[in-house]
Amino acid sequence: MVKALLTLPLLLFSLGLLAQDDYPTLKQLEERLKQLDIGFQEANLKSLGKTEGGKDIWLLELGTGSLHQKPAMVVAGGVEGFHLLGVEMSLQLAKKLLTDNKAILEKSSFYIFPNLSPDAYEQYFAPLKYERRGNAAKIDHDRDGRISEDGYEDLNDDGLITMMRIASPTGDHVPMEHRPELLRPANPQKGEKGQYLYKSEGTDKDKDGSFNEDPEEGIAFNKSLTYQFPAFETLAGDFPVSQVESRFLLDYLYEHPNIYTVFTFGPADNLSKPLAHDPQKASERVVTSIQKEDQILNEWISGKYRKHLPEDPFHNGNQGTDGDFFQWAYFHFGRLSLSTPGWFLPKQKDENEDVYSSQKDNFLAWADKQGMQDHMVEWVKVEHPDFPDHTVEVGGLKPFVLHNPPFHQVDSLAQIHTEFIVELATMHPQLSFIDMKTETLDRGLTRIKVKLFNDSPLPTHTALGKKSRWLKKIRVELSIAAENLLSGEKITLIDHLDAYGSREFSWIVKDGKTLTIKAGAPHTGTVSLDIAL
């Protein structure tokens, strides 16, 4: 009641704030989360703790009643610091669930983590902008005994880190034929001589021959989890889950066995295009391919997703990268794991009517068609201390533009994704008892028969989840003592029920008037049935 009274003025106030024209700063993000927390009974905002950079890892729990006992969907934004869109989408999703889609909160709960890379995310708002992935941990990326001694430098003073091209006979890059403002690797095997060295913007501060090899950033959340962890690679660290924000998140997820789906807004994509199944890799001891049954499920869900998209999407080719969150959620957490960049461009065609193979080319063709002006930095000459006798130019594609649409497009994308997510949550497993029969035998004995039915197009456990100890079994339990059962078990554990699958039970009980059968697991919800004998 107190909450409801507070709601009105704050909501009015928030309408003014929402009229923003760019992705939210961390401060704006926090304000908007707090408004949802205060404005809605069904919302509960928590900080799981602070990152190395002192930023909160926010979690918004949405649900009604005993929300931790219902099937839940995790929604993760900001898995990459440069993926601003995911942060805004998670926020808008939360708002839309609370305002226009409250009914779904009766059936499913939502755990929304709007920004899992707040340290890196801030780089977009910093005086020097670049697509940052690493957090604020102090890391010696080139492992030379010195920390962050060779980071980026803004040589053309435009506040952006782009690329440098250095005219040199030893160069290994040439301008692209149809788009000379971009470079591609030269092909010496075909007699092609390179024209440019091509490096990120900066100098070799420590004079070790490498450029920007030890920047001022730490570990990337989306490259440092346990699945296919790329040990010792830049931004990955020395061992998996080394960072405190990753541990906050994983501890929370492991302690919430009711999670059914993990939905990621990030670069990886198994929604516009499902994962492929590899029978060999799927059956090795260390599983590195989606299981067959799960692949079929992925394909079906992907079909549903594509129906929400206005045009045939260009797929970015990323179906998971080493140490990322999306693959972890399936391969190591056993859940239904879905990921989308949230923004798709239509497939563009080149002068030969062929579709592009690279995301960058497709983007540039689209940008041209849109008449976008602001996505490139003109190449300008700079003085470079490491190349005093060479022509050095700085320019190229601006950071962030490839992954984040112009802000005015976000609303419609959030609407599409909210609709899809609600559709998905509606399909979460739904247990019910059907075909119950009691049959009185002689002398106070009763036979009870009943089917436990999963009234859902999704199975109760993914095929991989069946193997995982982090999904509970479905527990079917009678309320009477074991000694009053002449046939059947007091407690039965079931590994899983298929989509629209059922399992029949039969007991003979003695000396009772009423009893209750309960069935469920945290991630399927629990149902009960009272029986009068």
Binding site: R143, V287, K473, A482
Partner: protein, 568 residues
């Protein structure tokens, strides 16, 4: 209450009256310890505190973190503190008791610390060792479940984990149906029952022993498993107690989740005890060798733990592993040098794999206690006949709980009995000190072989115009290189720095071949040469071109090889 100082109550004079020195053992230690019994955490801490009080210039005791139940994880640093910073000397790390039921690794680790400090005054070898090296010793890295194993009813195998309680049978309840000490003797032994279709009979010559009957024979008894009853009414006994997870599947090299590697917890170092160790190791890059103690079977184990990780262990490092462990086989009769994945089982997430794969540290796990120590025969692990012999002729019935009948709430009339939790895997008291000493000697050998760097030669050659070259030769006179080849593969540890201080340095280079003047110049910071590695029993040469005739100092600074200076 004066026991903390009881070492001071036996003055030397009195000792000489009463004792005569046996070779190899401190005959009059300042800290008296009986090495023929096991210790609770309280007992351990008392010994460690006494050692620190008795030898403040050789012993540092610190807590490196807290366990799940908030106990301290204790670390002893053993080194000659009057001869340099212990955290900059090449170091040997030793721990015990990662598996809580595998107690003796703790006593063996502690014996090592005790022996080094109690013998320090007497033996020049130990003096030199502690001048050059540091031993980091964590006697128990699983203190919660150590005490639980000792103080609560358990089998010889339980618990293996720490004290985090999990839902073993995934029924939604946590640790709801563990063992029950039905006969209240502090041990979880076996339940057997007479049965018309039983497949066992009691051996007529030794009724403690159950033997299986032939396929065509009727038996008398059936086995019902360890002591307990069905507490939750699911028709199963002891299916969800303390345990399940395995602290030795929790380490961050090629870690795999539970469905791939049973016993893994949430993610690497998700168990606080291991996290404390990891953090200590990350803060101490001077650790160049490591040892963890387990039981049992008489093994000196190296990785890889998992067959899939075979390529991590390359020939160059295996050569060093072999050299140290083969010496170990000679020091440890009955112990065999083996490789985990092929000789034991194929496992991911083990401690020794992280130490080596993740930190580049040569590491062994010894499986302490072997059948060989009983009768100098190898009867294998868990040999019931031998155990019975041992208990009959050497321990006179101390290891066995005789069968007694018991009225079980679910099974009716049964019998309870069998081997006690402190038998089998654990050394009987009379075998402990010898085996502790031999294992200690193995780790001392390993620690001794961590790098020892010396500037053995400095040559000057005058060039024209007041310029000269200075060529320094730095030798590593031990087996272990400053960087294992695993380390070099990933640049785990920074390069070794060899610096010239004093005159102006015009150029610096590594001399690859002095005879034919092959050099590799370092174009930046020439006064501080980065060397990738100083190999074991090998050397590197570096050269500077300097101006003027000032005196100079050469400083060798290696994370795993320590710091050494040469001055002119």
């Amino acid at each position: 209450m004066f026991c903390g100082f009881c070492f001071s109550l036996i003055p030397d004079m009195q000792a000489q009256e009463k004792f005569f020195r046996a070779i190899g053992t401190p005959h009059n230690p300042k800290v008296q310890v009986s090495w023929n019994r096991y210790h609770t955490n309280e007992g351990l801490l008392e010994i460690m505190r006494n050692m620190e009080k008795a030898y403040p210039s050789l012993v540092r005791l610190e807590s490196i973190g807290k366990s799940y139940e908030d106990r301290d994880i204790w670390m002893l640093t053993i080194s000659d503190f009057s001869k340099g910073d212990p955290d900059r000397k090449p170091a040997m790390y030793i721990d015990g008791n990662i598996h809580s039921n595998e107690l003796q690794g703790t006593e063996f680790s502690l014996y090592t610390a005790w022996y080094l400090v109690e013998m320090h005054a007497d033996l020049p070898f130990i003096q030199e060792l502690l001048e050059d090296k540091t031993f980091y010793i964590a006697p128990s890295i699983n203190p919660d479940a150590r005490d639980y194993f000792i103080k609560s009813p358990n089998t010889p195998h339980s618990p293996r984990s720490g004290m985090i309680k999990l839902d073993d049978d995934l029924d939604g309840e946590v640790a709801e149906d563990g063992f029950d000490d039905l006969n209240e003797d502090g041990h979880i032994t076996m339940m057997i029952r007479k049965s018309p279709t039983g497949r066992y009979v009691k051996d007529q010559r030794d009724p403690r022993k159950l033997i299986a009957v032939d396929p065509d024979e009727l038996g008398e008894y059936e086995m019902l498993g360890y002591e307990g009853y069905d507490r939750d009414g699911d028709g199963k006994v002891n299916e969800d107690g303390i345990g399940y997870y395995d602290p030795n599947r929790d380490w961050g090299w090629k870690w795999q989740p539970d469905y791939v590697q049973r016993g893994a917890y949430k993610y690497p170092f998700s168990q606080p005890e291991n996290r404390a160790v990891m953090e200590f190791v990350m803060k101490h890059p001077n650790i160049a060798g490591a040892q963890s103690y387990h039981n049992y079977g008489g093994m000196i184990l190296r990785g890889p733990g998992a067959e899939e990780d075979l390529e991590t262990y390359n020939q160059e490092d295996v050569r060093i592993y072999d050299a140290i462990a083969k010496k170990g086989e000679e020091m440890l009769p009955g112990y065999e040098y083996l490789v985990v994945y092929k000789d034991l089982y194929s496992v991911f997430g083990g401690e020794l794999d992280w130490f080596y794969g993740g930190r580049g540290i040569y590491t062994y796990s010894n499986e302490l206690m072997t059948s060989y120590l009983y009768f100098h025969k190898d009867a294998g692990r868990g040999n019931q006949d031998e155990q019975m012999m041992v208990d009959k002729y050497l321990t006179f019935g101390d290891a066995f709980v005789d069968w007694e009948s018991y009225d079980h709430p679910q099974f009716g009339e049964i019998e309870i009995g069998g081997f006690k939790k402190n038998s089998g895997r654990l050394h009987p008291g009379f075998l402990m000190e010898q085996d502790a000493h031999r294992n200690m000697a193995f780790t001392v050998y390993h620690g001794f072989q961590t790098p020892k760097l010396e500037v053995i030669e400095v040559k000057e050659e005058s060039q024209r115009g007041g310029i000269k070259t200075v060529t320094a030769t730095i030798r590593n006179s031990r087996l272990i290189p400053t960087h294992s080849s695993q380390d070099l593969k990933y640049n785990i540890e920074r390069p070794d720095w060899i610096s010239l201080e004093g005159p102006e340095v015009l150029a610096g280079m590594v001399v690859v071949d002095e005879d034919f003047n092959k050099v590799e110049e370092q174009n930046f910071e020439p006064e501080k040469i980065r060397v990738k590695n100083i190999p074991g029993m090998g050397m590197v040469k570096v050269r500077w071109i300097v101006k003027g005739n000032r005196n100079y100092r050469i400083i060798v600074d290696s994370a795993k090889g320590g710091v050494t200076n040469w001055e002119k």
